[in-house]
Subunit: 326 residues, 2 copies
Amino acid sequence: MAAPHTILDHIENTLKALPLHGTPDELYAPMRYILTLGGKRFRPLLVVLAGGMYGAAEDTLLGGAAAVEIFHNFSLMHDDIMDQAPLRRGQPTVHHVWNIPTAILAGDGMLVKVYEVLLGAVAPHLLPEVLTRFNRTALEVVEGQQLDMNFEGRNDVTEAEYLEMIRLKTAVLVGFSLWLGARLGGASAAEAQELYLAGERMGIGFQLYDDYLDTFGDPALTGKQPGGDIRVSKKTWLLIHTLQHVAEGQKHEALAWLHDKTPARANNKVAAITALMAQAGAHSACQQISEAYYQQGLHKVKDLGTVPSYRTAIEELAGKLMQRTS
Amino acid sequence: MAAPHTILDHIENTLKALPLHGTPDELYAPMRYILTLGGKRFRPLLVVLAGGMYGAAEDTLLGGAAAVEIFHNFSLMHDDIMDQAPLRRGQPTVHHVWNIPTAILAGDGMLVKVYEVLLGAVAPHLLPEVLTRFNRTALEVVEGQQLDMNFEGRNDVTEAEYLEMIRLKTAVLVGFSLWLGARLGGASAAEAQELYLAGERMGIGFQLYDDYLDTFGDPALTGKQPGGDIRVSKKTWLLIHTLQHVAEGQKHEALAWLHDKTPARANNKVAAITALMAQAGAHSACQQISEAYYQQGLHKVKDLGTVPSYRTAIEELAGKLMQRTS
C-alpha cells in the first residue's frame, strides 16, 4: 500500500480537482474556500484504507472519499451559521467572508454535489444500497445537530442522551466512511456492517476525547483558548458527569456559572467549572470512557479484511487520533 | 384518466403519508408544517400528467411527484430565511414558528428526503439518469436564488440576465417535473427532453405572469398587498423594462424610489413606480412576453405523448395558470 501521507496527497488532489465551478461564482467560491481550509481529512482516509483492506486499488476509492469530505464540510458550513462561529480552523467562516444567505445556499449546493460525486464514484449495481445508507447517515447527522441545539436549553441532559447525540452528530459519518470504503472495495454487506459499527464506536471515542482536550488539553499544543465548550455552556460529557458527581451545593454553583454569560467573567467561569470537573474526577473518567469506546471499535476491526497492511494503517490512524494533543 | 382534482387528492394523500417522522421531532415537524401550508401542487401534478401522456398508471408516478414537491418546499424554507419573510401562504414561516437554525437544518433534512423518496420511486435502471438530471436541476435552482440575491445590489440588470435568473430559479423545476413524469412513464430520452424544454418555456411564462400580477393584479382577488416586489425593490422584468423605456429624468426618479426603504413612504413608492411602469408600457409588454413563452412551451407539447387526454390536461392546467387572477 501507499504510505498514508501519499494517500492524503491523492485525496487533496482529488478535492482540488472537483468540479466546484459555475455561475454565479459567489455560490461555488465558498465551497472551494471551506475545502481548502484543511483539516485532518481522516474521514476520506478511512474510505481509502477500508477499501484497501479488501484489495481495491486506491484510485477507485478517491471519489467516495471526496464525497464524504464534501458532506462533512457542508455540515460544518451550516453548523457555523447556527453556532454563530466567527472562525473555522483559524480562518473566517463562510458566513463571515460572504454572508448568511450565501453560506446557506453554498451549503445546499455542496449537499447536492455530494450526490453528484457519489453518482460518479459508485457502480450502478451498488448505487441504491450506497444512497440508502448515505441518506440515513445524512439524516442522522442533521438529527444530531438538532439534538445538540436542543440540549443548550436544558440542564438535565443525561449521559445516555449525550452519547446518542454524539453518535448521530459525529460517529455515524466515521462509520459510514469505513462502510463505504469496504463496500466499494468488495467487502460483503456483513463485513461492511462490522466496519460501520467499528467506526461508530471509534467515532464516539474520538468525540469524547475531543471534549476532554477542549477543557484539559494543553493550550500551548491545541493552539486554542482553553475551555471553549465551558465558555458557551456546552453540555459535554465532562459537564454531565460533573453535575452528577458533585455535592448539591457545588452542582448549584456549576449551574450558576453555566447561566452566567457575562464576557468579563468568562475566564473565572472556565476556572471554576474546570476545578469542579477535576474534583468530580470527570477528567480521568472521560479519558477512560473515551478509551473504552475506541477499544471496542478496534476490537471489531481486528479480524476483518484481506490486506493486513491497510487494517494496520487504520489501527495506527485511530491510535494517533486517540493520542493527539491538538 | 382521473379528473385533475382526483389526482390532486392522491398527491395530497401521498404527501401526508410521507415518512417525515423521527427524533428529535423539532427536525421533522417543520417539514410536515410547510407541506401542509398548501400551494397549487402544480409541479407534482405535471409529473403525473406527463407520465400519463405515455400510458403510465397514475399510482406509479406519485413518488416522483412527491419528490418534486418536497424539493420545491425545501427551497421555499431556505429562501424564506434569506428573504427574512415572515409569512408563507398567509401563515408564519418556519424560521418564525421555530427559529433560523431549525429552519436551516429542517431544510437540509428535506433535501436528503428528496433523494430518499426518489430512490423509492425510480426503477434502478433509470436511477443514474434521474439523479444526474435532478442534481443538475437542484444546482440550477440554487444558482438562480444566488443570482436573484446578487441582483439586489445592482441597478443595471439586463432583461437577458433577468430571464436567465428566472429560468434557473423557477423554470428548470417545471421542466424537470414534466421530464421526470415522462421518463418514469416510458417516454424516450428525446421525448422527455422535448417536454423538459416545454416546461422550461412555460415556467418562464408563469414567472413573468407572476411578476405582472404582483404589481398589476387586483388586490381584491390576489389577497395580497399590491406591489410587494416594488416594496422590496426587486429587479423584476417590469422594472427592468421600465428603466429602459422611460426618459432619463424618470429613470432617476424610479431609481431614487428604489433606494428609498423608508416604511412610511412605501405606499407612495408603489404608486410612483407603478405609474412609471404603466407609462413605459411595461404592463402590456410583460403580458405579451409572458404569453409568448407560454405559447412556445405549449407548441412543443402539441405532438407529444400517446394518451391525448393527459396532454389536454397539461394544456388546460397551463392555460389556467396563465389566466389566474391570484
